[in-house]
Amino acid sequence: MEKLLEIDDLTKVFSLGSILSRIRITAADNVSFYIKPAEIFALAGESGCGKTTVARMILGFEEPTSGAIVHKGKKGGKSKNKKVWFTEGVQAIFQDPFGTFNPLRIVDRYFFETIQNFRLARNNGEAIKLIKEKLNAVGLSYKAFCGKYPSEFSGGQLQRVSIARALLTNPTLLIADEPVSMVDASLRTSIVNLFKKLKEESGVSVLYITHDLATAYYVSDRIAIMFRGHIVEMGPIEKVLIDPKHPYTQLLRESIPEADPKRRWSKAITLSDIEHEEYLREGCKFAGRCPDVMEKCKGEVPNDVYVDDVLVKCHKYTGNRASFPYAETQRRAS
């Protein structure tokens, strides 16, 4: 099976506080997953669970403490050539489209700049043709786009513009970090439909980072649920979200407000008070809020086990100890 991107035991440690009272937070703790070509992979979890840190490491904004990111069988690196090669294949879309673009700059400039940087066109005419093609793919017209400032677009439109910009290099993978959380609920569907269309028509893979499980369910093929730096559950979307195994996934699943007044929330939940405390917890990080907590959970980090093709990190389950599908990468790397 071919893999487009492999994340291999990625770890990132941040130090907080002064020299005297330093605490170390493992924002990503041995995170491993892979993305296949033409697949939408969702990485979900609440804020502060480390999902953005993973995205930033993949994009090279953050240096991993350990672990490897392998794209099309090659490792990304620091040298300029490798970076250019990597960014041509992997493009990013960010949360806030109004923060993505400089408000005093016309948006076309970004498009021409990208074309120039990657030498995608030989002359102006070709460049415009390319831009038109990409705008068309996201459902915008060149006329309505040309010569405008970011403030002249609505949030949903500007997010489309930012997707069109990412598509210029014909990437094989889009890293979308919370692309719809700033967009109105009614327009979210149009953005995620666009990801579906790109996947089906152009074979683009998407790493869809979100806390919105409803849209994740709607577009993704596979999903990984992150909690305080760990992946706690990973597998095909139908299995993970329709029949969640990890108590945290169950909590997430129940907390999605359903547009059905007959099915309101009835149970009360406990929220974490301070993030640090959960990060620093020994054993299972979810033990403080878990409804099924056992003695064992407080001291011992659970192993990753496979239950019914789904990877689960919880003491409740005993199953085949996960033999990681990315073991072959490790062999190749060493």
């Binding site: 609440e46 804020s47 502060g48 609505s154 949030g155 949903g156 439109q157 959380s181 700033m182 109105d184 609920a185 009614s186 327009l187 979210r188 569907t189 149009s190 995620v192 439909n193 579906k196 806390h211 919105d212 499980l213 409803a214 849209t215 369910y217 709607y218 979200l241 329709i242 909590l251 997430l252 907390s255 999605i256 407000p257 359903e258 547009a259 059905d260 007044p261 007959k262 309101r264 929330w265 009360a268 939940i269 929220l271 974490s272 008070d273 301070i274 993030e275």
Partner: protein
């Protein structure tokens, strides 16, 4: 029992802007009639830029230039007497605020003063409304209030930046409920929070309403949240209320095409069929389309829609809708 607590009559609030000598009028609230009852959660839904926040400002009586009250009136019922808000002077308004009606603004995670501890914020607040309390007394009140709402009271000793976004949001809501107001107005209190925290915030709002038996006006574009908390929902589009009904009715029998889109565009579990979002984008409030403002995006557009704005028809006593398709003339009692 079911008494009106807040009522508006053809409320119109426009932003009047002077841009390089030419006058621009943004019709953000354009003739809204509301009747909000005691002890209910009234939800207002609609896309960004449809005038939801402006409507709340008008309800709260916080009308400051460039926003102007063009027409219509807002009435509060205070101690069985109807009070017209714009007739009050600044001092009377100030007294009503927080004690009678309080407001949780949008992005309230960042409304707390970042350089003082939360207990100082609470004391500031108590000082300006309840006189003659010592520092310790005020702290005691704040502590009891916070604990009663299920929040850890140690947060009073923290600075706002030490708390997570969800916690800050809940502290702000708790602050708004401190003086037991009869009406709490919440502007997108759950937006930009993730699902579990969102649920915590909704839980807190419901708890407060249970305890105080007051009215909550909740604005959010998230129909899932609306389904979960609201008793009645008003759907707003381009400064107008286009549909209003009980929550069950809105979700089981939406009549306005816009409401149908809002509800059907939501993805649901166990159903991966393609969902359509509302086509096009919201109209500019400076330059509204003629007739029904939804007609350029409406798939069922009739000739009449482009010419005249439909009035509210009531197919049912608790259901109001402004759409020509529903047939105002035949069975509707036009308002």
């Amino acid at each position: 029992m079911n008494q009106t607590i807040l009522r508006t009559e053809q409320l119109k609030a426009f932003y009047v802007l002077d841009v390089l000598g030419s006058r621009k009028v943004v019709k953000a609230v354009n003739g809204v009639d509301l009747e909000i009852m005691k002890n209910e959660v009234y939800g207002i839904a609609g896309e960004s830029g449809c005038g939801k926040t402006t409507l709340l400002n008008a309800l709260y009586g916080a009308i400051e230039p460039p926003l102007r009250l063009i027409g219509g009136k807002v009435y509060y019922r205070v101690n069985d007497e109807e009070i017209e808000v714009s007739s009050l002077n600044a001092e009377e308004k100030r007294r009503l605020r927080w004690e009678y009606v309080s407001y949780v603004p949008q992005g309230s995670m960042s409304v707390l003063n970042p350089v003082i501890k939360l207990k100082e914020s609470y004391r500031d607040f108590l000082d300006s409304h309840v006189s003659g309390k010592t520092k310790d007394e005020a702290f005691e009140i704040a502590k009891r209030h916070i604990s009663a709402l299920g929040l850890p009271h140690k947060i009073l000793d923290a600075y706002p930046h030490q708390l997570s976004g969800g916690m800050r949001q809940r502290v702000t809501i708790a602050l708004a409920a401190l003086l037991k107001p009869r009406i709490i107005i919440g502007d997108e209190p759950t937006t930009a929070l993730d699902v579990v925290v969102q649920r915590g915030v909704v839980q807190l709002l419901k708890d407060i309403q249970d305890k105080l038996k007051n009215t909550i006006i909740l604005v959010t574009h998230d129909m899932g949240i609306q389904a979960n908390v609201a008793d009645r929902i008003g759907i707003m589009y381009a400064g107008k209320m286009v549909e209003e009904a009980t929550t069950e009715e809105i979700f089981s029998n939406p009549l306005h095409p816009y409401t149908k889109y809002l509800i059907n565009s939501l993805p649901r579990f166990g159903d991966k069929t393609t969902r359509e979002s509302v086509p096009g984008s919201p109209p500019s409030l400076i330059n509204l389309p003629s007739g029904c403002p939804f007609h350029p995006r409406c798939p069922y557009v009739l000739d009449m829609c482009t010419k005249q704005m439909p009035r509210h028809a009531s197919p049912d006593t608790n259901h109001k809708v402004a759409c020509w398709l529903v047939g105002e003339g035949e069975d509707g009692k036009a308002s």
